[in-house]
């Protein structure tokens, strides 16, 4: 596969995952993080991924996010295989299509909020203005603050602004509320839901928190490296109505 410059194709799934497995180490010490996962993910859905620690949900996200490679099986993004992509192609895939949000924000402490966002828009093909992205997550007034001057929730919202500013096709959010209190967490989830609705980016949201599943279009639950449940939520609730 030369490039991953894929365009959406009507009803075809964004991701087509077949018999995906990931083994860490070998011999008796081998850990089977994923054991034959099969999933189709349609365009534009907000998917909440649930599961206990070690269930394989993060490994799954890392592989479809282009951070890790499967041991066996295929992942097709808009029909193109990620498994055989070169390292440079994966870098381009992450740069052009994927927005990441992490539990621990991972902002550059030496850059202001605006600069953290601009860092990504500079290398994106069709980015929004960093100020606009920060406005979307409600951080307009704190645009020139450094991470050390922002609260945890604010830092996470900068991270979301950074992820959405490139108008990604896919958002990967690994425990985005894990380090936040419930009120702040809800605000972050609201921001994510807004972005999903407004940009139409397929959004994966990994969490331990079962009640977050109420806001999802689809809930996928992992257990022991396999998908235990894959159910569609016909009536997702607004994030603002969640509490835990």
């Amino acid at each position: 596969m030369a490039s991953l410059d894929a365009e959406p194709d009507g009803a075809a799934p964004t991701y087509q995952v077949r018999d995906l497995s990931r083994v860490y180490g070998d011999g008796p010490a081998a850990v089977h993080a994923l054991r034959g996962v099969d999933i189709d993910v349609p365009e534009g859905e907000l998917i909440v991924v649930l599961g206990a620690s070690g269930s394989g949900k993060s490994t799954f996200l890392n592989i479809i996010g282009g951070l890790d490679r499967a041991t066996a099986g295929t992942v097709r993004f808009r029909g193109q295989d990620l498994h055989d992509a070169s390292d440079a192609a994966l870098t381009r895939y992450r740069r052009d299509h994927v927005g990441f949000v992490f539990q621990f924000y991972n902002l550059m402490p030496s850059l202001t909020a605006r600069e953290n966002v601009a860092l990504v828009t500079e290398i994106a093909r069709n980015p929004m203005d960093p100020a606009e992205a920060l406005e979307l997550v409600g951080l307009g007034p704190r645009i020139d603050h450094f991470p050390a001057q922002l609260s945890g929730g604010e830092q996470q919202r900068v991270a979301i602004a950074r992820a959405i500013a490139k108008r990604p096709d896919v958002m990967m959010c690994d425990e985005p509320t894990g380090a936040l209190d419930s009120k702040t967490g809800v605000r972050v989830l609201e921001a994510l839901q807004n972005v999903n609705r407004e940009l139409g980016a397929t959004t994966f949201l990994i969490t331990h928190n079962v009640s977050v599943g109420w806001m999802a279009d689809r809930v996928i639950e992992f257990a022991d490296g396999a998908v235990r449940e894959n159910r569609v939520n016909a009536n997702p609730v607004p994030a603002s109505e969640l509490s835990w």
Binding site: S58, R95, F102, N106, S110, L119, A148
Partner: protein, 793 residues
């Protein structure tokens, strides 16, 4: 290794050392460089001084030399009676030419007389390396200085033909010797020893006396002083007693050529020992500081946990000090081994030029202890700040993760206004401005490295200037001929008529005591032709500085020793003829890098001494095609006492400089690279460890390895670029200091650094940093994005 012997924390120390082995090795190497220099050069300074002291004591090396024209032997009794004199040996010293066959330049040298009864002299005894002293009463046996013997493959039983006072003699070698007077066997006026062209022999007194017409007389008294005796007082008494016999003036060890060279060597080594090791130990201390600081920062939570478990602050401090002390011990062990090897190698090299019966590079326990204390001290000092921070962390503090570094204050924050700077560069600049101390210290380390490099190449430049000045500019003759005594000007015509002589200039050199104020120096006053073209003192632009009537041209080093300058009138006390004291005005003080000079007009000198129009030597240019014929004739000329050959002297000087300076330059470059690599590698590694998370995040966000490497390596590159000019300047400063401190009677280091030297120094520094970057770059490529993102800082 059981857990009981090695506590759990100690195992952590071992694992930390293994994990950080690259950095540990880099720091240990820098410390090892310092230790090895301290051990080798410090040890060599001590062994050289001690060997010399022991040699001088055991072989009764003279304290004073008193040359005369001719004094009766019974005068020795009077000399022995001088207060403060322990022993006196009177002897005849005469120039000698050797006949060894072949077309090349003939060797010359000296003969010293030995007591007629076959015993060792009371002063300046000989060390027999082979054979025996001349048999009692023999007049055709000689012992030969070992350097000359080995250069020509001479051994006891071989015969030797020599010309002594114009008489050809055939003698038999009875032994090969070393002498405390000729540790550094160099012909007078020469820059470097040439064992093939300069030799010294000893034979019984009667033989020398018969050949030189000195029966019943001596022309040199060598004197040993009693402990605590006043050297100036004894010298004055000697001069008084010997004045009627044409005393040139007694001189001490400072003016004895061999000892002057040995002293200069020891002084230079002492200077280097003082200057070099501290540079390395300071750099090592700084490296330990950044590495341990980083460890403590990363291990905050672990420290907090340990404190919560009940470990005391002292135990915490001990843990990190152990880590640092293992680095120090590694450096010490490597440095001690390297130092022993280096010291041995340097001693071997010194033994090529300085001939001692024994020169052992002593593994001086004191030196090791000092080196050890310095290395440990430096490393502990480097770790002290971080260790104190670690031990002061309370459990609660430590368990709380540190707040993200705040970049909102200071200069870096103002970069917000500069839109044209891209964000990666912004991160680089803010990192530098946020931690200026660390950037400054890294820069200082690289500065030290650049300075050492400049110094290394400076030595080569200086030697080039010295050679050029002495052999090309000042001394343009092919050959210097020294006559056995004063000869009438007619001798010059005889020389001019020899085959192949193209240009000739006569001179008369006489020992003189120059006085100015309360300073006095013993040197040679040379009477030269009005417009010297061959052997000259030259000005800044290479122009001849010729003496004018009544004036004295004095090389800068002599003027400085006298404290006199141009325009001053100095007193010149001559020892020949009527022993006149002349008042001479210094007309110029040209700088000479090699040797010294005091010149006046030949006519003025001859008039003052009242011995007629005489000369005692000449310098000449010759047709190389007729060299063989010229040498053959000069060897047999009774008036010729000795010859010196410029091309050979130049080649020998070059060879010696290439070997000794080459070694020093090589060592400087090696050590400078060790510093640059150690500093740059550690700086980049620590920066990488601190920013692993940031860098991994950037990779996740879609930045390439090149982009990420840029952020990390641009920082090192900026520091290097900033350090480079400072380092080159500091190198010039260091070179200048060295040029001042290596100022000896024999030569001075000119302070002159070529642009190419700066270029090479810069290039090597940059290459060292690039190599460090390349080593770390491999780690950037292996950055585990997933793992890094999953862990909280």
């Amino acid at each position: 290794m059981s857990a009981r012997i090695l506590g759990v924390l100690d195992r952590k120390v071992l694992r930390d050392l293994w994990r950080m082995r690259g950095q540990v090795i880099a720091i240990a190497l820098v410390a090892a460089a310092g230790v090895s220099l301290q051990v080798s050069m410090g040890g060599l300074t001590v062994s050289l001084s001690e060997t010399r002291a022991a040699y001088y004591e055991r072989y009764r090396f003279a304290d004073l030399w008193a040359p005369v024209v001719r004094a009766p032997l019974p005068l020795a009794m009077e000399l022995r009676a001088i207060d403060g004199v322990a022993s006196v040996e009177t002897r005849i010293t005469a120039p000698v030419l050797f006949e060894l066959g072949g077309e090349g330049p003939p060797p010359s040298g000296f003969v010293h007389s030995l007591p007629q009864d076959g015993s060792q002299p009371a002063v300046n005894a000989l060390h027999l390396a082979e054979g025996r002293l001349p048999a009692p009463g023999s007049s055709d046996e000689v012992v030969v200085l070992d350097s000359f013997a080995s250069a020509h493959g001479l051994h006891p039983g071989d015969s030797l033909t020599l010309t002594l006072a114009g008489r050809r003699e055939n003698v038999t070698i009875s032994g090969v010797v070393l002498s405390p007077e000729w540790i550094y066997a160099i012909a007078p006026g020469q820059l470097a020893p040439d064992p093939a062209l300069f030799g010294v022999i000893w034979m019984n007194e009667a033989g020398v006396a018969a050949a030189t017409g000195m029966s019943g007389a001596f022309n040199e008294a060598v004197v040993r002083l009693m402990r605590g005796a006043s050297e100036p007082a004894v010298r004055a008494a000697l001069d008084q007693a010997l004045a009627p016999y044409g005393a040139a003036g007694a001189y001490g060890r400072r003016e004895q050529v061999s000892d002057a060279f040995v002293s200069a060597e020891i002084d230079q080594m002492r200077t280097m020992t003082r200057m070099m090791p501290p540079i390395f130990l300071i750099v090592a201390a700084f490296l330990v500081n950044i590495v341990v600081s980083r460890m403590v920062a990363v291990e905050r939570e672990q420290i907090g946990l340990l404190r919560a478990f009940g470990y005391t602050p002292l135990q915490i401090a001990g843990h990190y000090l152990k880590f640092a002390s293992v680095i120090a011990l590694l450096g010490l062990a490597a440095g001690a081994a390297l130092g022993a090897w280096l010291g041995d190698a340097m001693a071997g090299m010194l033994a090529d030029y300085y001939h001692f019966p024994f020169l052992l590079f002593g593994l001086d326990p004191g030196g090791y202890a000092l080196a050890g204390a310095l290395a440990l001290g430096a490393v502990m000092l480097g770790a002290a700040g971080a260790v104190r921070r670690a031990s002061r962390l309370t459990p609660a503090d430590a368990m709380r993760p540190p707040a993200p570094a705040d970049y909102s204050r200071g200069l870096g924050a103002r970069l917000i206004a500069f839109r044209q700077i891209d964000h990666q560069s912004r991160m680089v600049l803010r990192q530098l401005l946020r931690f200026p101390l660390r950037a400054g210290l890294t820069g200082a380390g690289l500065t030290a490295s650049a300075a050492l490099l400049v110094c290394a190449f400076y030595f080569a430049d200086a030697v080039e200037v010295m050679v050029e000045e002495y052999f090309t500019l000042a001394n343009r003759q092919d050959l210097s001929v020294h006559l056995a005594d004063q000869r009438a000007m007619g001798a010059l015509d005889a020389l001019t008529a020899r085959p192949g002589v193209m240009e000739i200039e006569p001179f008369r050199a006489e020992p003189v005591r120059l006085r100015f104020g309360h300073h006095e120096i013993l040197t040679a006053l040379t009477g030269v032709v009005d417009d010297p073209r061959l052997a000259r003192l030259t000005g800044k632009r290479g122009e001849t500085i010729a003496p004018v009537p009544g004036g004295l041209v004095l090389s800068r080093d002599l003027a400085d020793r006298l404290g006199a300058g141009a325009g001053d009138t100095v007193l010149a006390a001559l020892t020949r003829g009527a022993r006149p004291e002349l008042e001479l005005q210094v007309i110029a003080t040209p700088q000479t890098w090699v040797g010294s000079g005091a010149q006046m007009r030949l006519d003025d000198l001859n008039r003052a001494l009242g011995e007629g129009d005489v000369i005692n030597g000449a310098v000449l240019r010759m047709d190389a095609r007729e060299a063989g014929a010229l040498y053959a004739e000069l060897k047999d000329a009774p008036a010729v006492a000795g010859m010196q050959f410029n091309a050979e002297a130049r080649a020998t000087f070059r060879e010696i400089m290439d070997e000794t300076m080459g070694t020093v330059i090589g060592a400087f470059i090696l050590f400078a690279c060790v510093i640059a690599l150690g500093v740059a590698y550690n700086a980049v590694r620590v920066s990488m460890a601190e920013r692993e998370r940031e860098l991994a995040s950037l990779r996740v966000l879609g930045f390439s390895r090149g982009d990420v490497s840029y952020i990390l390596l641009a920082e090192a590159a900026l520091i290097t670029l900033a350090a480079l000019p400072v380092g080159l300047l500091a190198g010039a400063g260091l070179a200048w200091t060295l040029s001042l401190s290596m100022d000896s009677d024999v030569f001075r280091l000119p302070f002159m650094i070529s642009p190419a030297s700066y270029g090479y120094a810069g290039l090597i520094l940059i290459m060292s940093v690039v190599l460090s970057g390349a080593l770390v770059r491999r780690r950037i490529d292996r950055l585990d994005m997933v793992k890094v993102l999953k862990t909280r800082e």
